[in-house]
């Protein structure tokens, strides 16, 4: 195992632990945030806020480097500007997220944790992604 592989493993582990600690694997907590006209649960705002505080500060420092620490190059999204594809994709994702309260990370952790709902959700998610990949240019 090389260090690039280990770094990805460690990053994933931190990410998964963060999702669990912040209850983002609990659909009820996520739907509680999305339900702004019900009994609103602000937890997700703290999660997103905590995460973006860290990335907004640290990404700037990291991107001052000429290259990543373990080799290769920085691979940042190349697309620029807002287009119909972005808007449609975000809207479709939002509708699905609002229906179930699962987004991709929590659904994957939910599968590993044996949550029945995640086991139903994930195959459909993979199918949806595959179909979108088939009908759109990369």
């Amino acid at each position: 195992m090389n260090r690039r592989f280990l770094a990805a493993l460690a990053s994933g582990a931190l990410f998964g632990a963060g999702l669990a600690v912040s209850s983002m694997t609990d659909r009820a907590v996520v739907l509680g945030f999305l339900d702004v006209f019900g009994q609103w649960n602000p937890t997700l705002a703290f999660v997103m806020g905590g995460a973006v505080l860290v990335t907004a500060f640290a990404f700037r420092l990291v991107l001052k480097r000429a290259a990543p620490a373990f080799g290769g190059e920085f691979r940042l999204p190349r697309r620029e500007g807002v287009d119909v594809r972005l808007l449609a994709g975000a809207a479709i994702f939002g509708i699905g997220w609002g229906l179930a309260g699962f987004c991709p990370g929590p659904a994957l952790v939910g599968v590993a944790a044996g949550l029945t709902d995640a086991w139903i959700f994930l195959p459909a998610m993979v199918a949806g992604s595959w179909l979108a990949g088939r009908i759109t240019p990369p």
């Binding site: 990410f15 739907l31 990335t55 994702f93 994957l108 952790v109 199918a127």
Partner: protein, 156 residues
């Protein structure tokens, strides 16, 4: 959804701190991945690339996903409040999963790629994407919880 009611006291006792701490861990994970191998921690892209991407670019994606799934599941075992067992209707979960998979692939990102990482890079595309998926998700939840339920309850 049968869930414990959230009151002012039980939210402010712990949920905001757990949310902030968990969020910081997620942010650190994204920083570690960018610093070490130069990649964005967007789960939908990492997952679709692990299944369908270039073969020589799959190992790190699989390592990330294994780490996330194992650590997440282990953490849930030891946390004081495990996820409440819920069983939503299967057709709704299937439709939701399909839309989430389709939409994130089409829009090149989800809550992590556009949210945690895109906002952290001050990307205008990601800011727009986050605004659109948040509003659409809130509108959908509103319809499911306050329109459909009311109409169904008042039906003869």
């Amino acid at each position: 959804m049968g869930s414990i009611p959230i009151t002012r006291s039980n939210f402010f006792m712990n949920d905001w701190a757990a949310g902030l701490a968990g969020g910081a861990l997620i942010g650190l994970a994204a920083v570690l991945l960018l610093w070490s191998i130069g990649r964005i921690a967007g789960i939908s892209s990492i997952a679709s690339g692990a299944l369908e991407g270039a073969r020589n670019d799959r190992a790190w994606r699989i390592a990330f996903l294994v780490g996330m799934m194992v650590a997440g599941a282990l953490a849930l075992q030891f946390l004081p409040a495990p996820p409440r067992a819920q069983t939503g209707p299967a057709p709704l979960l299937l439709a939701a999963g399909f839309l989430v998979g389709f939409g994130t692939r089409l829009g090149n990102g989800c809550t992590s790629g556009h949210g945690v990482c895109g906002l952290g890079r001050f990307s205008r595309r990601s800011l727009v994407a986050v605004a659109v998926f948040m509003v659409c998700a809130m509108a959908t939840t509103f319809v499911v919880r306050h329109v459909v339920v009311t109409v169904t309850a008042s039906a003869p």
